[in-house]
């Protein structure tokens, strides 16, 4: 086993996904199989290899500090599931 049900529960919490018991079981099996496959990478010696986050050698892409027009507020809020007084509205925040 590469990962167990408890790992999946933890990952689901980090991912903010509500999973049923059945889903947890199913995902545990599937993710375990995928990770099992991914183990093939351990055959590769990467001790002297630099990681590559960007495939292109592009650097220093910047814009001038100039103000551009913002969106009208109606447009900013047009897709909001809930809004009030020009604010986005969300359920209470519990820490």
């Amino acid at each position: 086993m590469k990962l167990n049900r408890k790992d999946v529960e933890h990952v689901a919490l980090l991912s903010r996904l509500e999973l049923s018991e059945t889903e947890l079981d199913k995902y545990t099996g599937q993710l375990d199989a995928i990770l099992e496959y991914i183990d093939v990478l351990n055959q590769v010696d990467t001790s002297a290899v630099e990681p590559m986050a960007h495939v292109l050698d592009i650097r220093n892409v910047m814009r001038a500090d100039e103000v551009q027009p913002s969106l009208p507020r109606e447009a900013a809020l047009q897709n909001a599931p809930d809004a009030e007084d020009g604010f986005f509205k969300v359920p209470k925040i519990v820490e």
């Binding site: 990962l3 790992d7 999946v8 933890h10 990952v11 689901a12 980090l14 991912s15 903010r16 996904l17 509500e18 999973l19 995902y27 599937q30 993710l31 199989a33 995928i34 990770l35 496959y37 991914i38 183990d39 093939v40 990478l41 351990n42 055959q43 590769v44 990467t46 290899v49 630099e50 990681p51 590559m52 986050a53 960007h54 495939v55 292109l56 592009i58 892409v61 814009r63 969106l71 447009a75 900013a76 047009q78 897709n79 909001a80 599931p81 809930d82 986005f88 969300v90 359920p91 209470k92 925040i93 519990v94």
Partner: protein, 488 residues
């Protein structure tokens, strides 16, 4: 005449000679979609009124004698993960079912500037995650060559629309093969350009370091025309390449004499459908007969590409898809507090494949596993890129299969994610290396199209098109449109 059966460059000639109007072309394509889309289901959203209005504007421009671009008045489709201001952009996800962007993607702006006609937004695997379009949150798109089969994915709607005559050309996005696979399965030309060649601004991100927009077309010339219209530097995309865009049609007729073609032996994997392997090898022989030189090359890290991809792509996706939380846009589930609202919204809004990839990526980045998974994958990515660098030191292009088999049956791989992932084994390496790769029809097996892959070094699109054109002109695969069993 069925205008919808013609290529863009043919229609363009007729348009410029005033033999037909853009409105007539558009009407023909819209009528075809009216007829076949209930069967093929390429589109999530169709925009016939806007398309006709745009066609009318093109006709007016032509009447005034104004210069127009090669794509002017030619109907095309966009994958529904490209933002269109005022038109729903869903990513085939329930979580974005009602999302209407207040802005246009760069490619949307460029196509508008080229006076192209957009007939609709094409279906895809939800958030471009999949190889069959079965992961669409709405419905499955069918392969026009055999409606029991998948069109490939994730840009299945874009591929099927072009193959079925519902669009003359279309755009897809390719993160691990999502343009090339549907192009191969649907028997059309598909090109994943060099990473950075086409702006990603307005393309809803799946895996930012791999995603790239590219064209689907009926033939290589059309592919070159569309690529020319969408390529170029964009200041809104920091990873955009600042290099001039050549006329991609200029070198089409230059032939392959003296070109060095590499045959990477690792791409001919165990379990390949014999007809597919035979078609590829036969195609290579033909190119050699046309004057190309064949060189066997080895790309030893190819076998690690799939695992590498599924770590990098899912890690980036887990972060890119964090924003779908029911706060600013998209589906909101019931929840009395913020965390339960988040969890409910995302559980209801995302389909299983998206959930699976989010969790895999989250795991790969999580404390204690980062080095073993994500960082390891970045290092292997370096080795895969070096394989390509070495190969392109020896050859001009590589020829390989697109997929080990022809289009598979709908439902065949749904329950086995890993089997589905293995479909992409030949297309993924070029995304990891950021190099361009083209899918070209090169034969049929049991009435299903087979795709050949032509891969080149960074910014070698013109060469890929040149090789593809030379091969294409020696065959008539591009002259056939799929005959849809239920309709034609």
């Amino acid at each position: 005449m069925d205008l919808f059966r013609l290529k863009a460059h043919e229609l363009q000639q007729k348009l410029f000679r005033r033999e037909v109007s853009a409105v007539e072309i558009t009407q023909s394509v819209l009528a075809r979609a009216d007829k076949v889309d209930s069967t093929i289901q390429s589109f999530i959203t169709r925009t016939p009124e806007a398309a006709l209005a745009q066609a009318k504007r093109v006709d007016e421009k032509l009447a005034r004698g104004e210069a127009v671009s090669p794509l002017a008045g030619i109907p095309g489709a966009l994958k529904d993960n490209m933002c269109t201001k005022g038109v729903k952009t869903t990513c085939a996800s329930k979580i974005l079912a009602n999302f209407v962007p207040p802005y246009d993607a760069t490619i949307t702006e460029k196509l508008a500037a080229a006076d192209a006609v957009i007939v609709g937004k094409a279906n895809l695997d939800e958030f471009a995650m999949g190889s069959s379009t079965e992961n669409s949150g709405f419905f499955v798109t069918r392969n026009p060559w055999d409606t029991d089969r998948v069109p490939g994915g994730s840009s299945g709607g874009s591929g099927a629309a072009v193959a079925a005559g519902e669009a003359i050309w279309s755009l897809g996005s390719d993160t691990g093969g999502s343009i090339r696979l549907p192009a191969a399965y649907c028997g059309v030309v598909g090109l994943k350009p060099t990473y950075g060649r086409v702006s990603r601004y307005g393309l809803v991100a799946y895996a930012s370091s791999l995603d790239q927009i590219g064209p689907f077309a009926r033939d290589v010339r059309d592919c070159a025309l569309v690529l020319g219209a969408i390529s170029g530097h964009d200041r809104r995309d920091s990873t955009s390449i600042n290099a001039p865009v050549p006329d991609y049609t200029a070198k089409l007729e230059s032939g392959v004499k003296g070109l060095k073609i590499g045959l990477p032996r690792e791409y001919f994997v165990a379990g390949m459908q014999p007809e597919v392997e035979a078609a590829i090898r036969r195609s290579i022989d033909e190119l050699v007969a046309m004057g190309a030189e064949l060189v066997e090359v080895s790309m030893p890290h190819t076998q690690y590409a799939l695992a590498t991809y599924y770590l990098i792509a899912t890690a980036e996706a887990s972060s890119n898809l964090g924003r779908y939380d029911g706060v600013g846009f998209g589906h909101r589930g019931e929840g009395s507090d913020i965390v339960s609202m988040y969890k409910r919204s995302r559980a209801e809004g995302f389909g299983p494949e998206v959930q699976r990839r989010i969790m895999l990526g989250t795991y790969a980045l999580s404390s204690g596993y980062y080095d073993a998974y994500y960082l390891k994958a970045l290092k292997v990515r370096t080795l895969i890129k070096q394989d390509f660098d070495r190969a392109f030191g020896q050859v001009d292009v590589l020829i390989a299969p697109i997929a080990p088999t022809t289009a598979f049956k709908i439902g065949e791989k749904v329950e086995d994610p890993l089997a589905m992932y293995l479909v992409d084994v030949c297309t993924i390496p070029s995304n990891l290396a950021g190099v361009p790769a083209l899918s070209l029809p090169c034969g049929f097996a049991d009435g299903l199209p087979i795709g050949m892959q032509i891969i080149g070094p960074h910014l070698s699109e013109a060469t890929l098109l040149q090789v593809a054109y030379t091969f294409e002109q020696a065959h008539d695969y591009h002259k056939q449109l799929a005959a849809i069993r239920e309709v034609d």
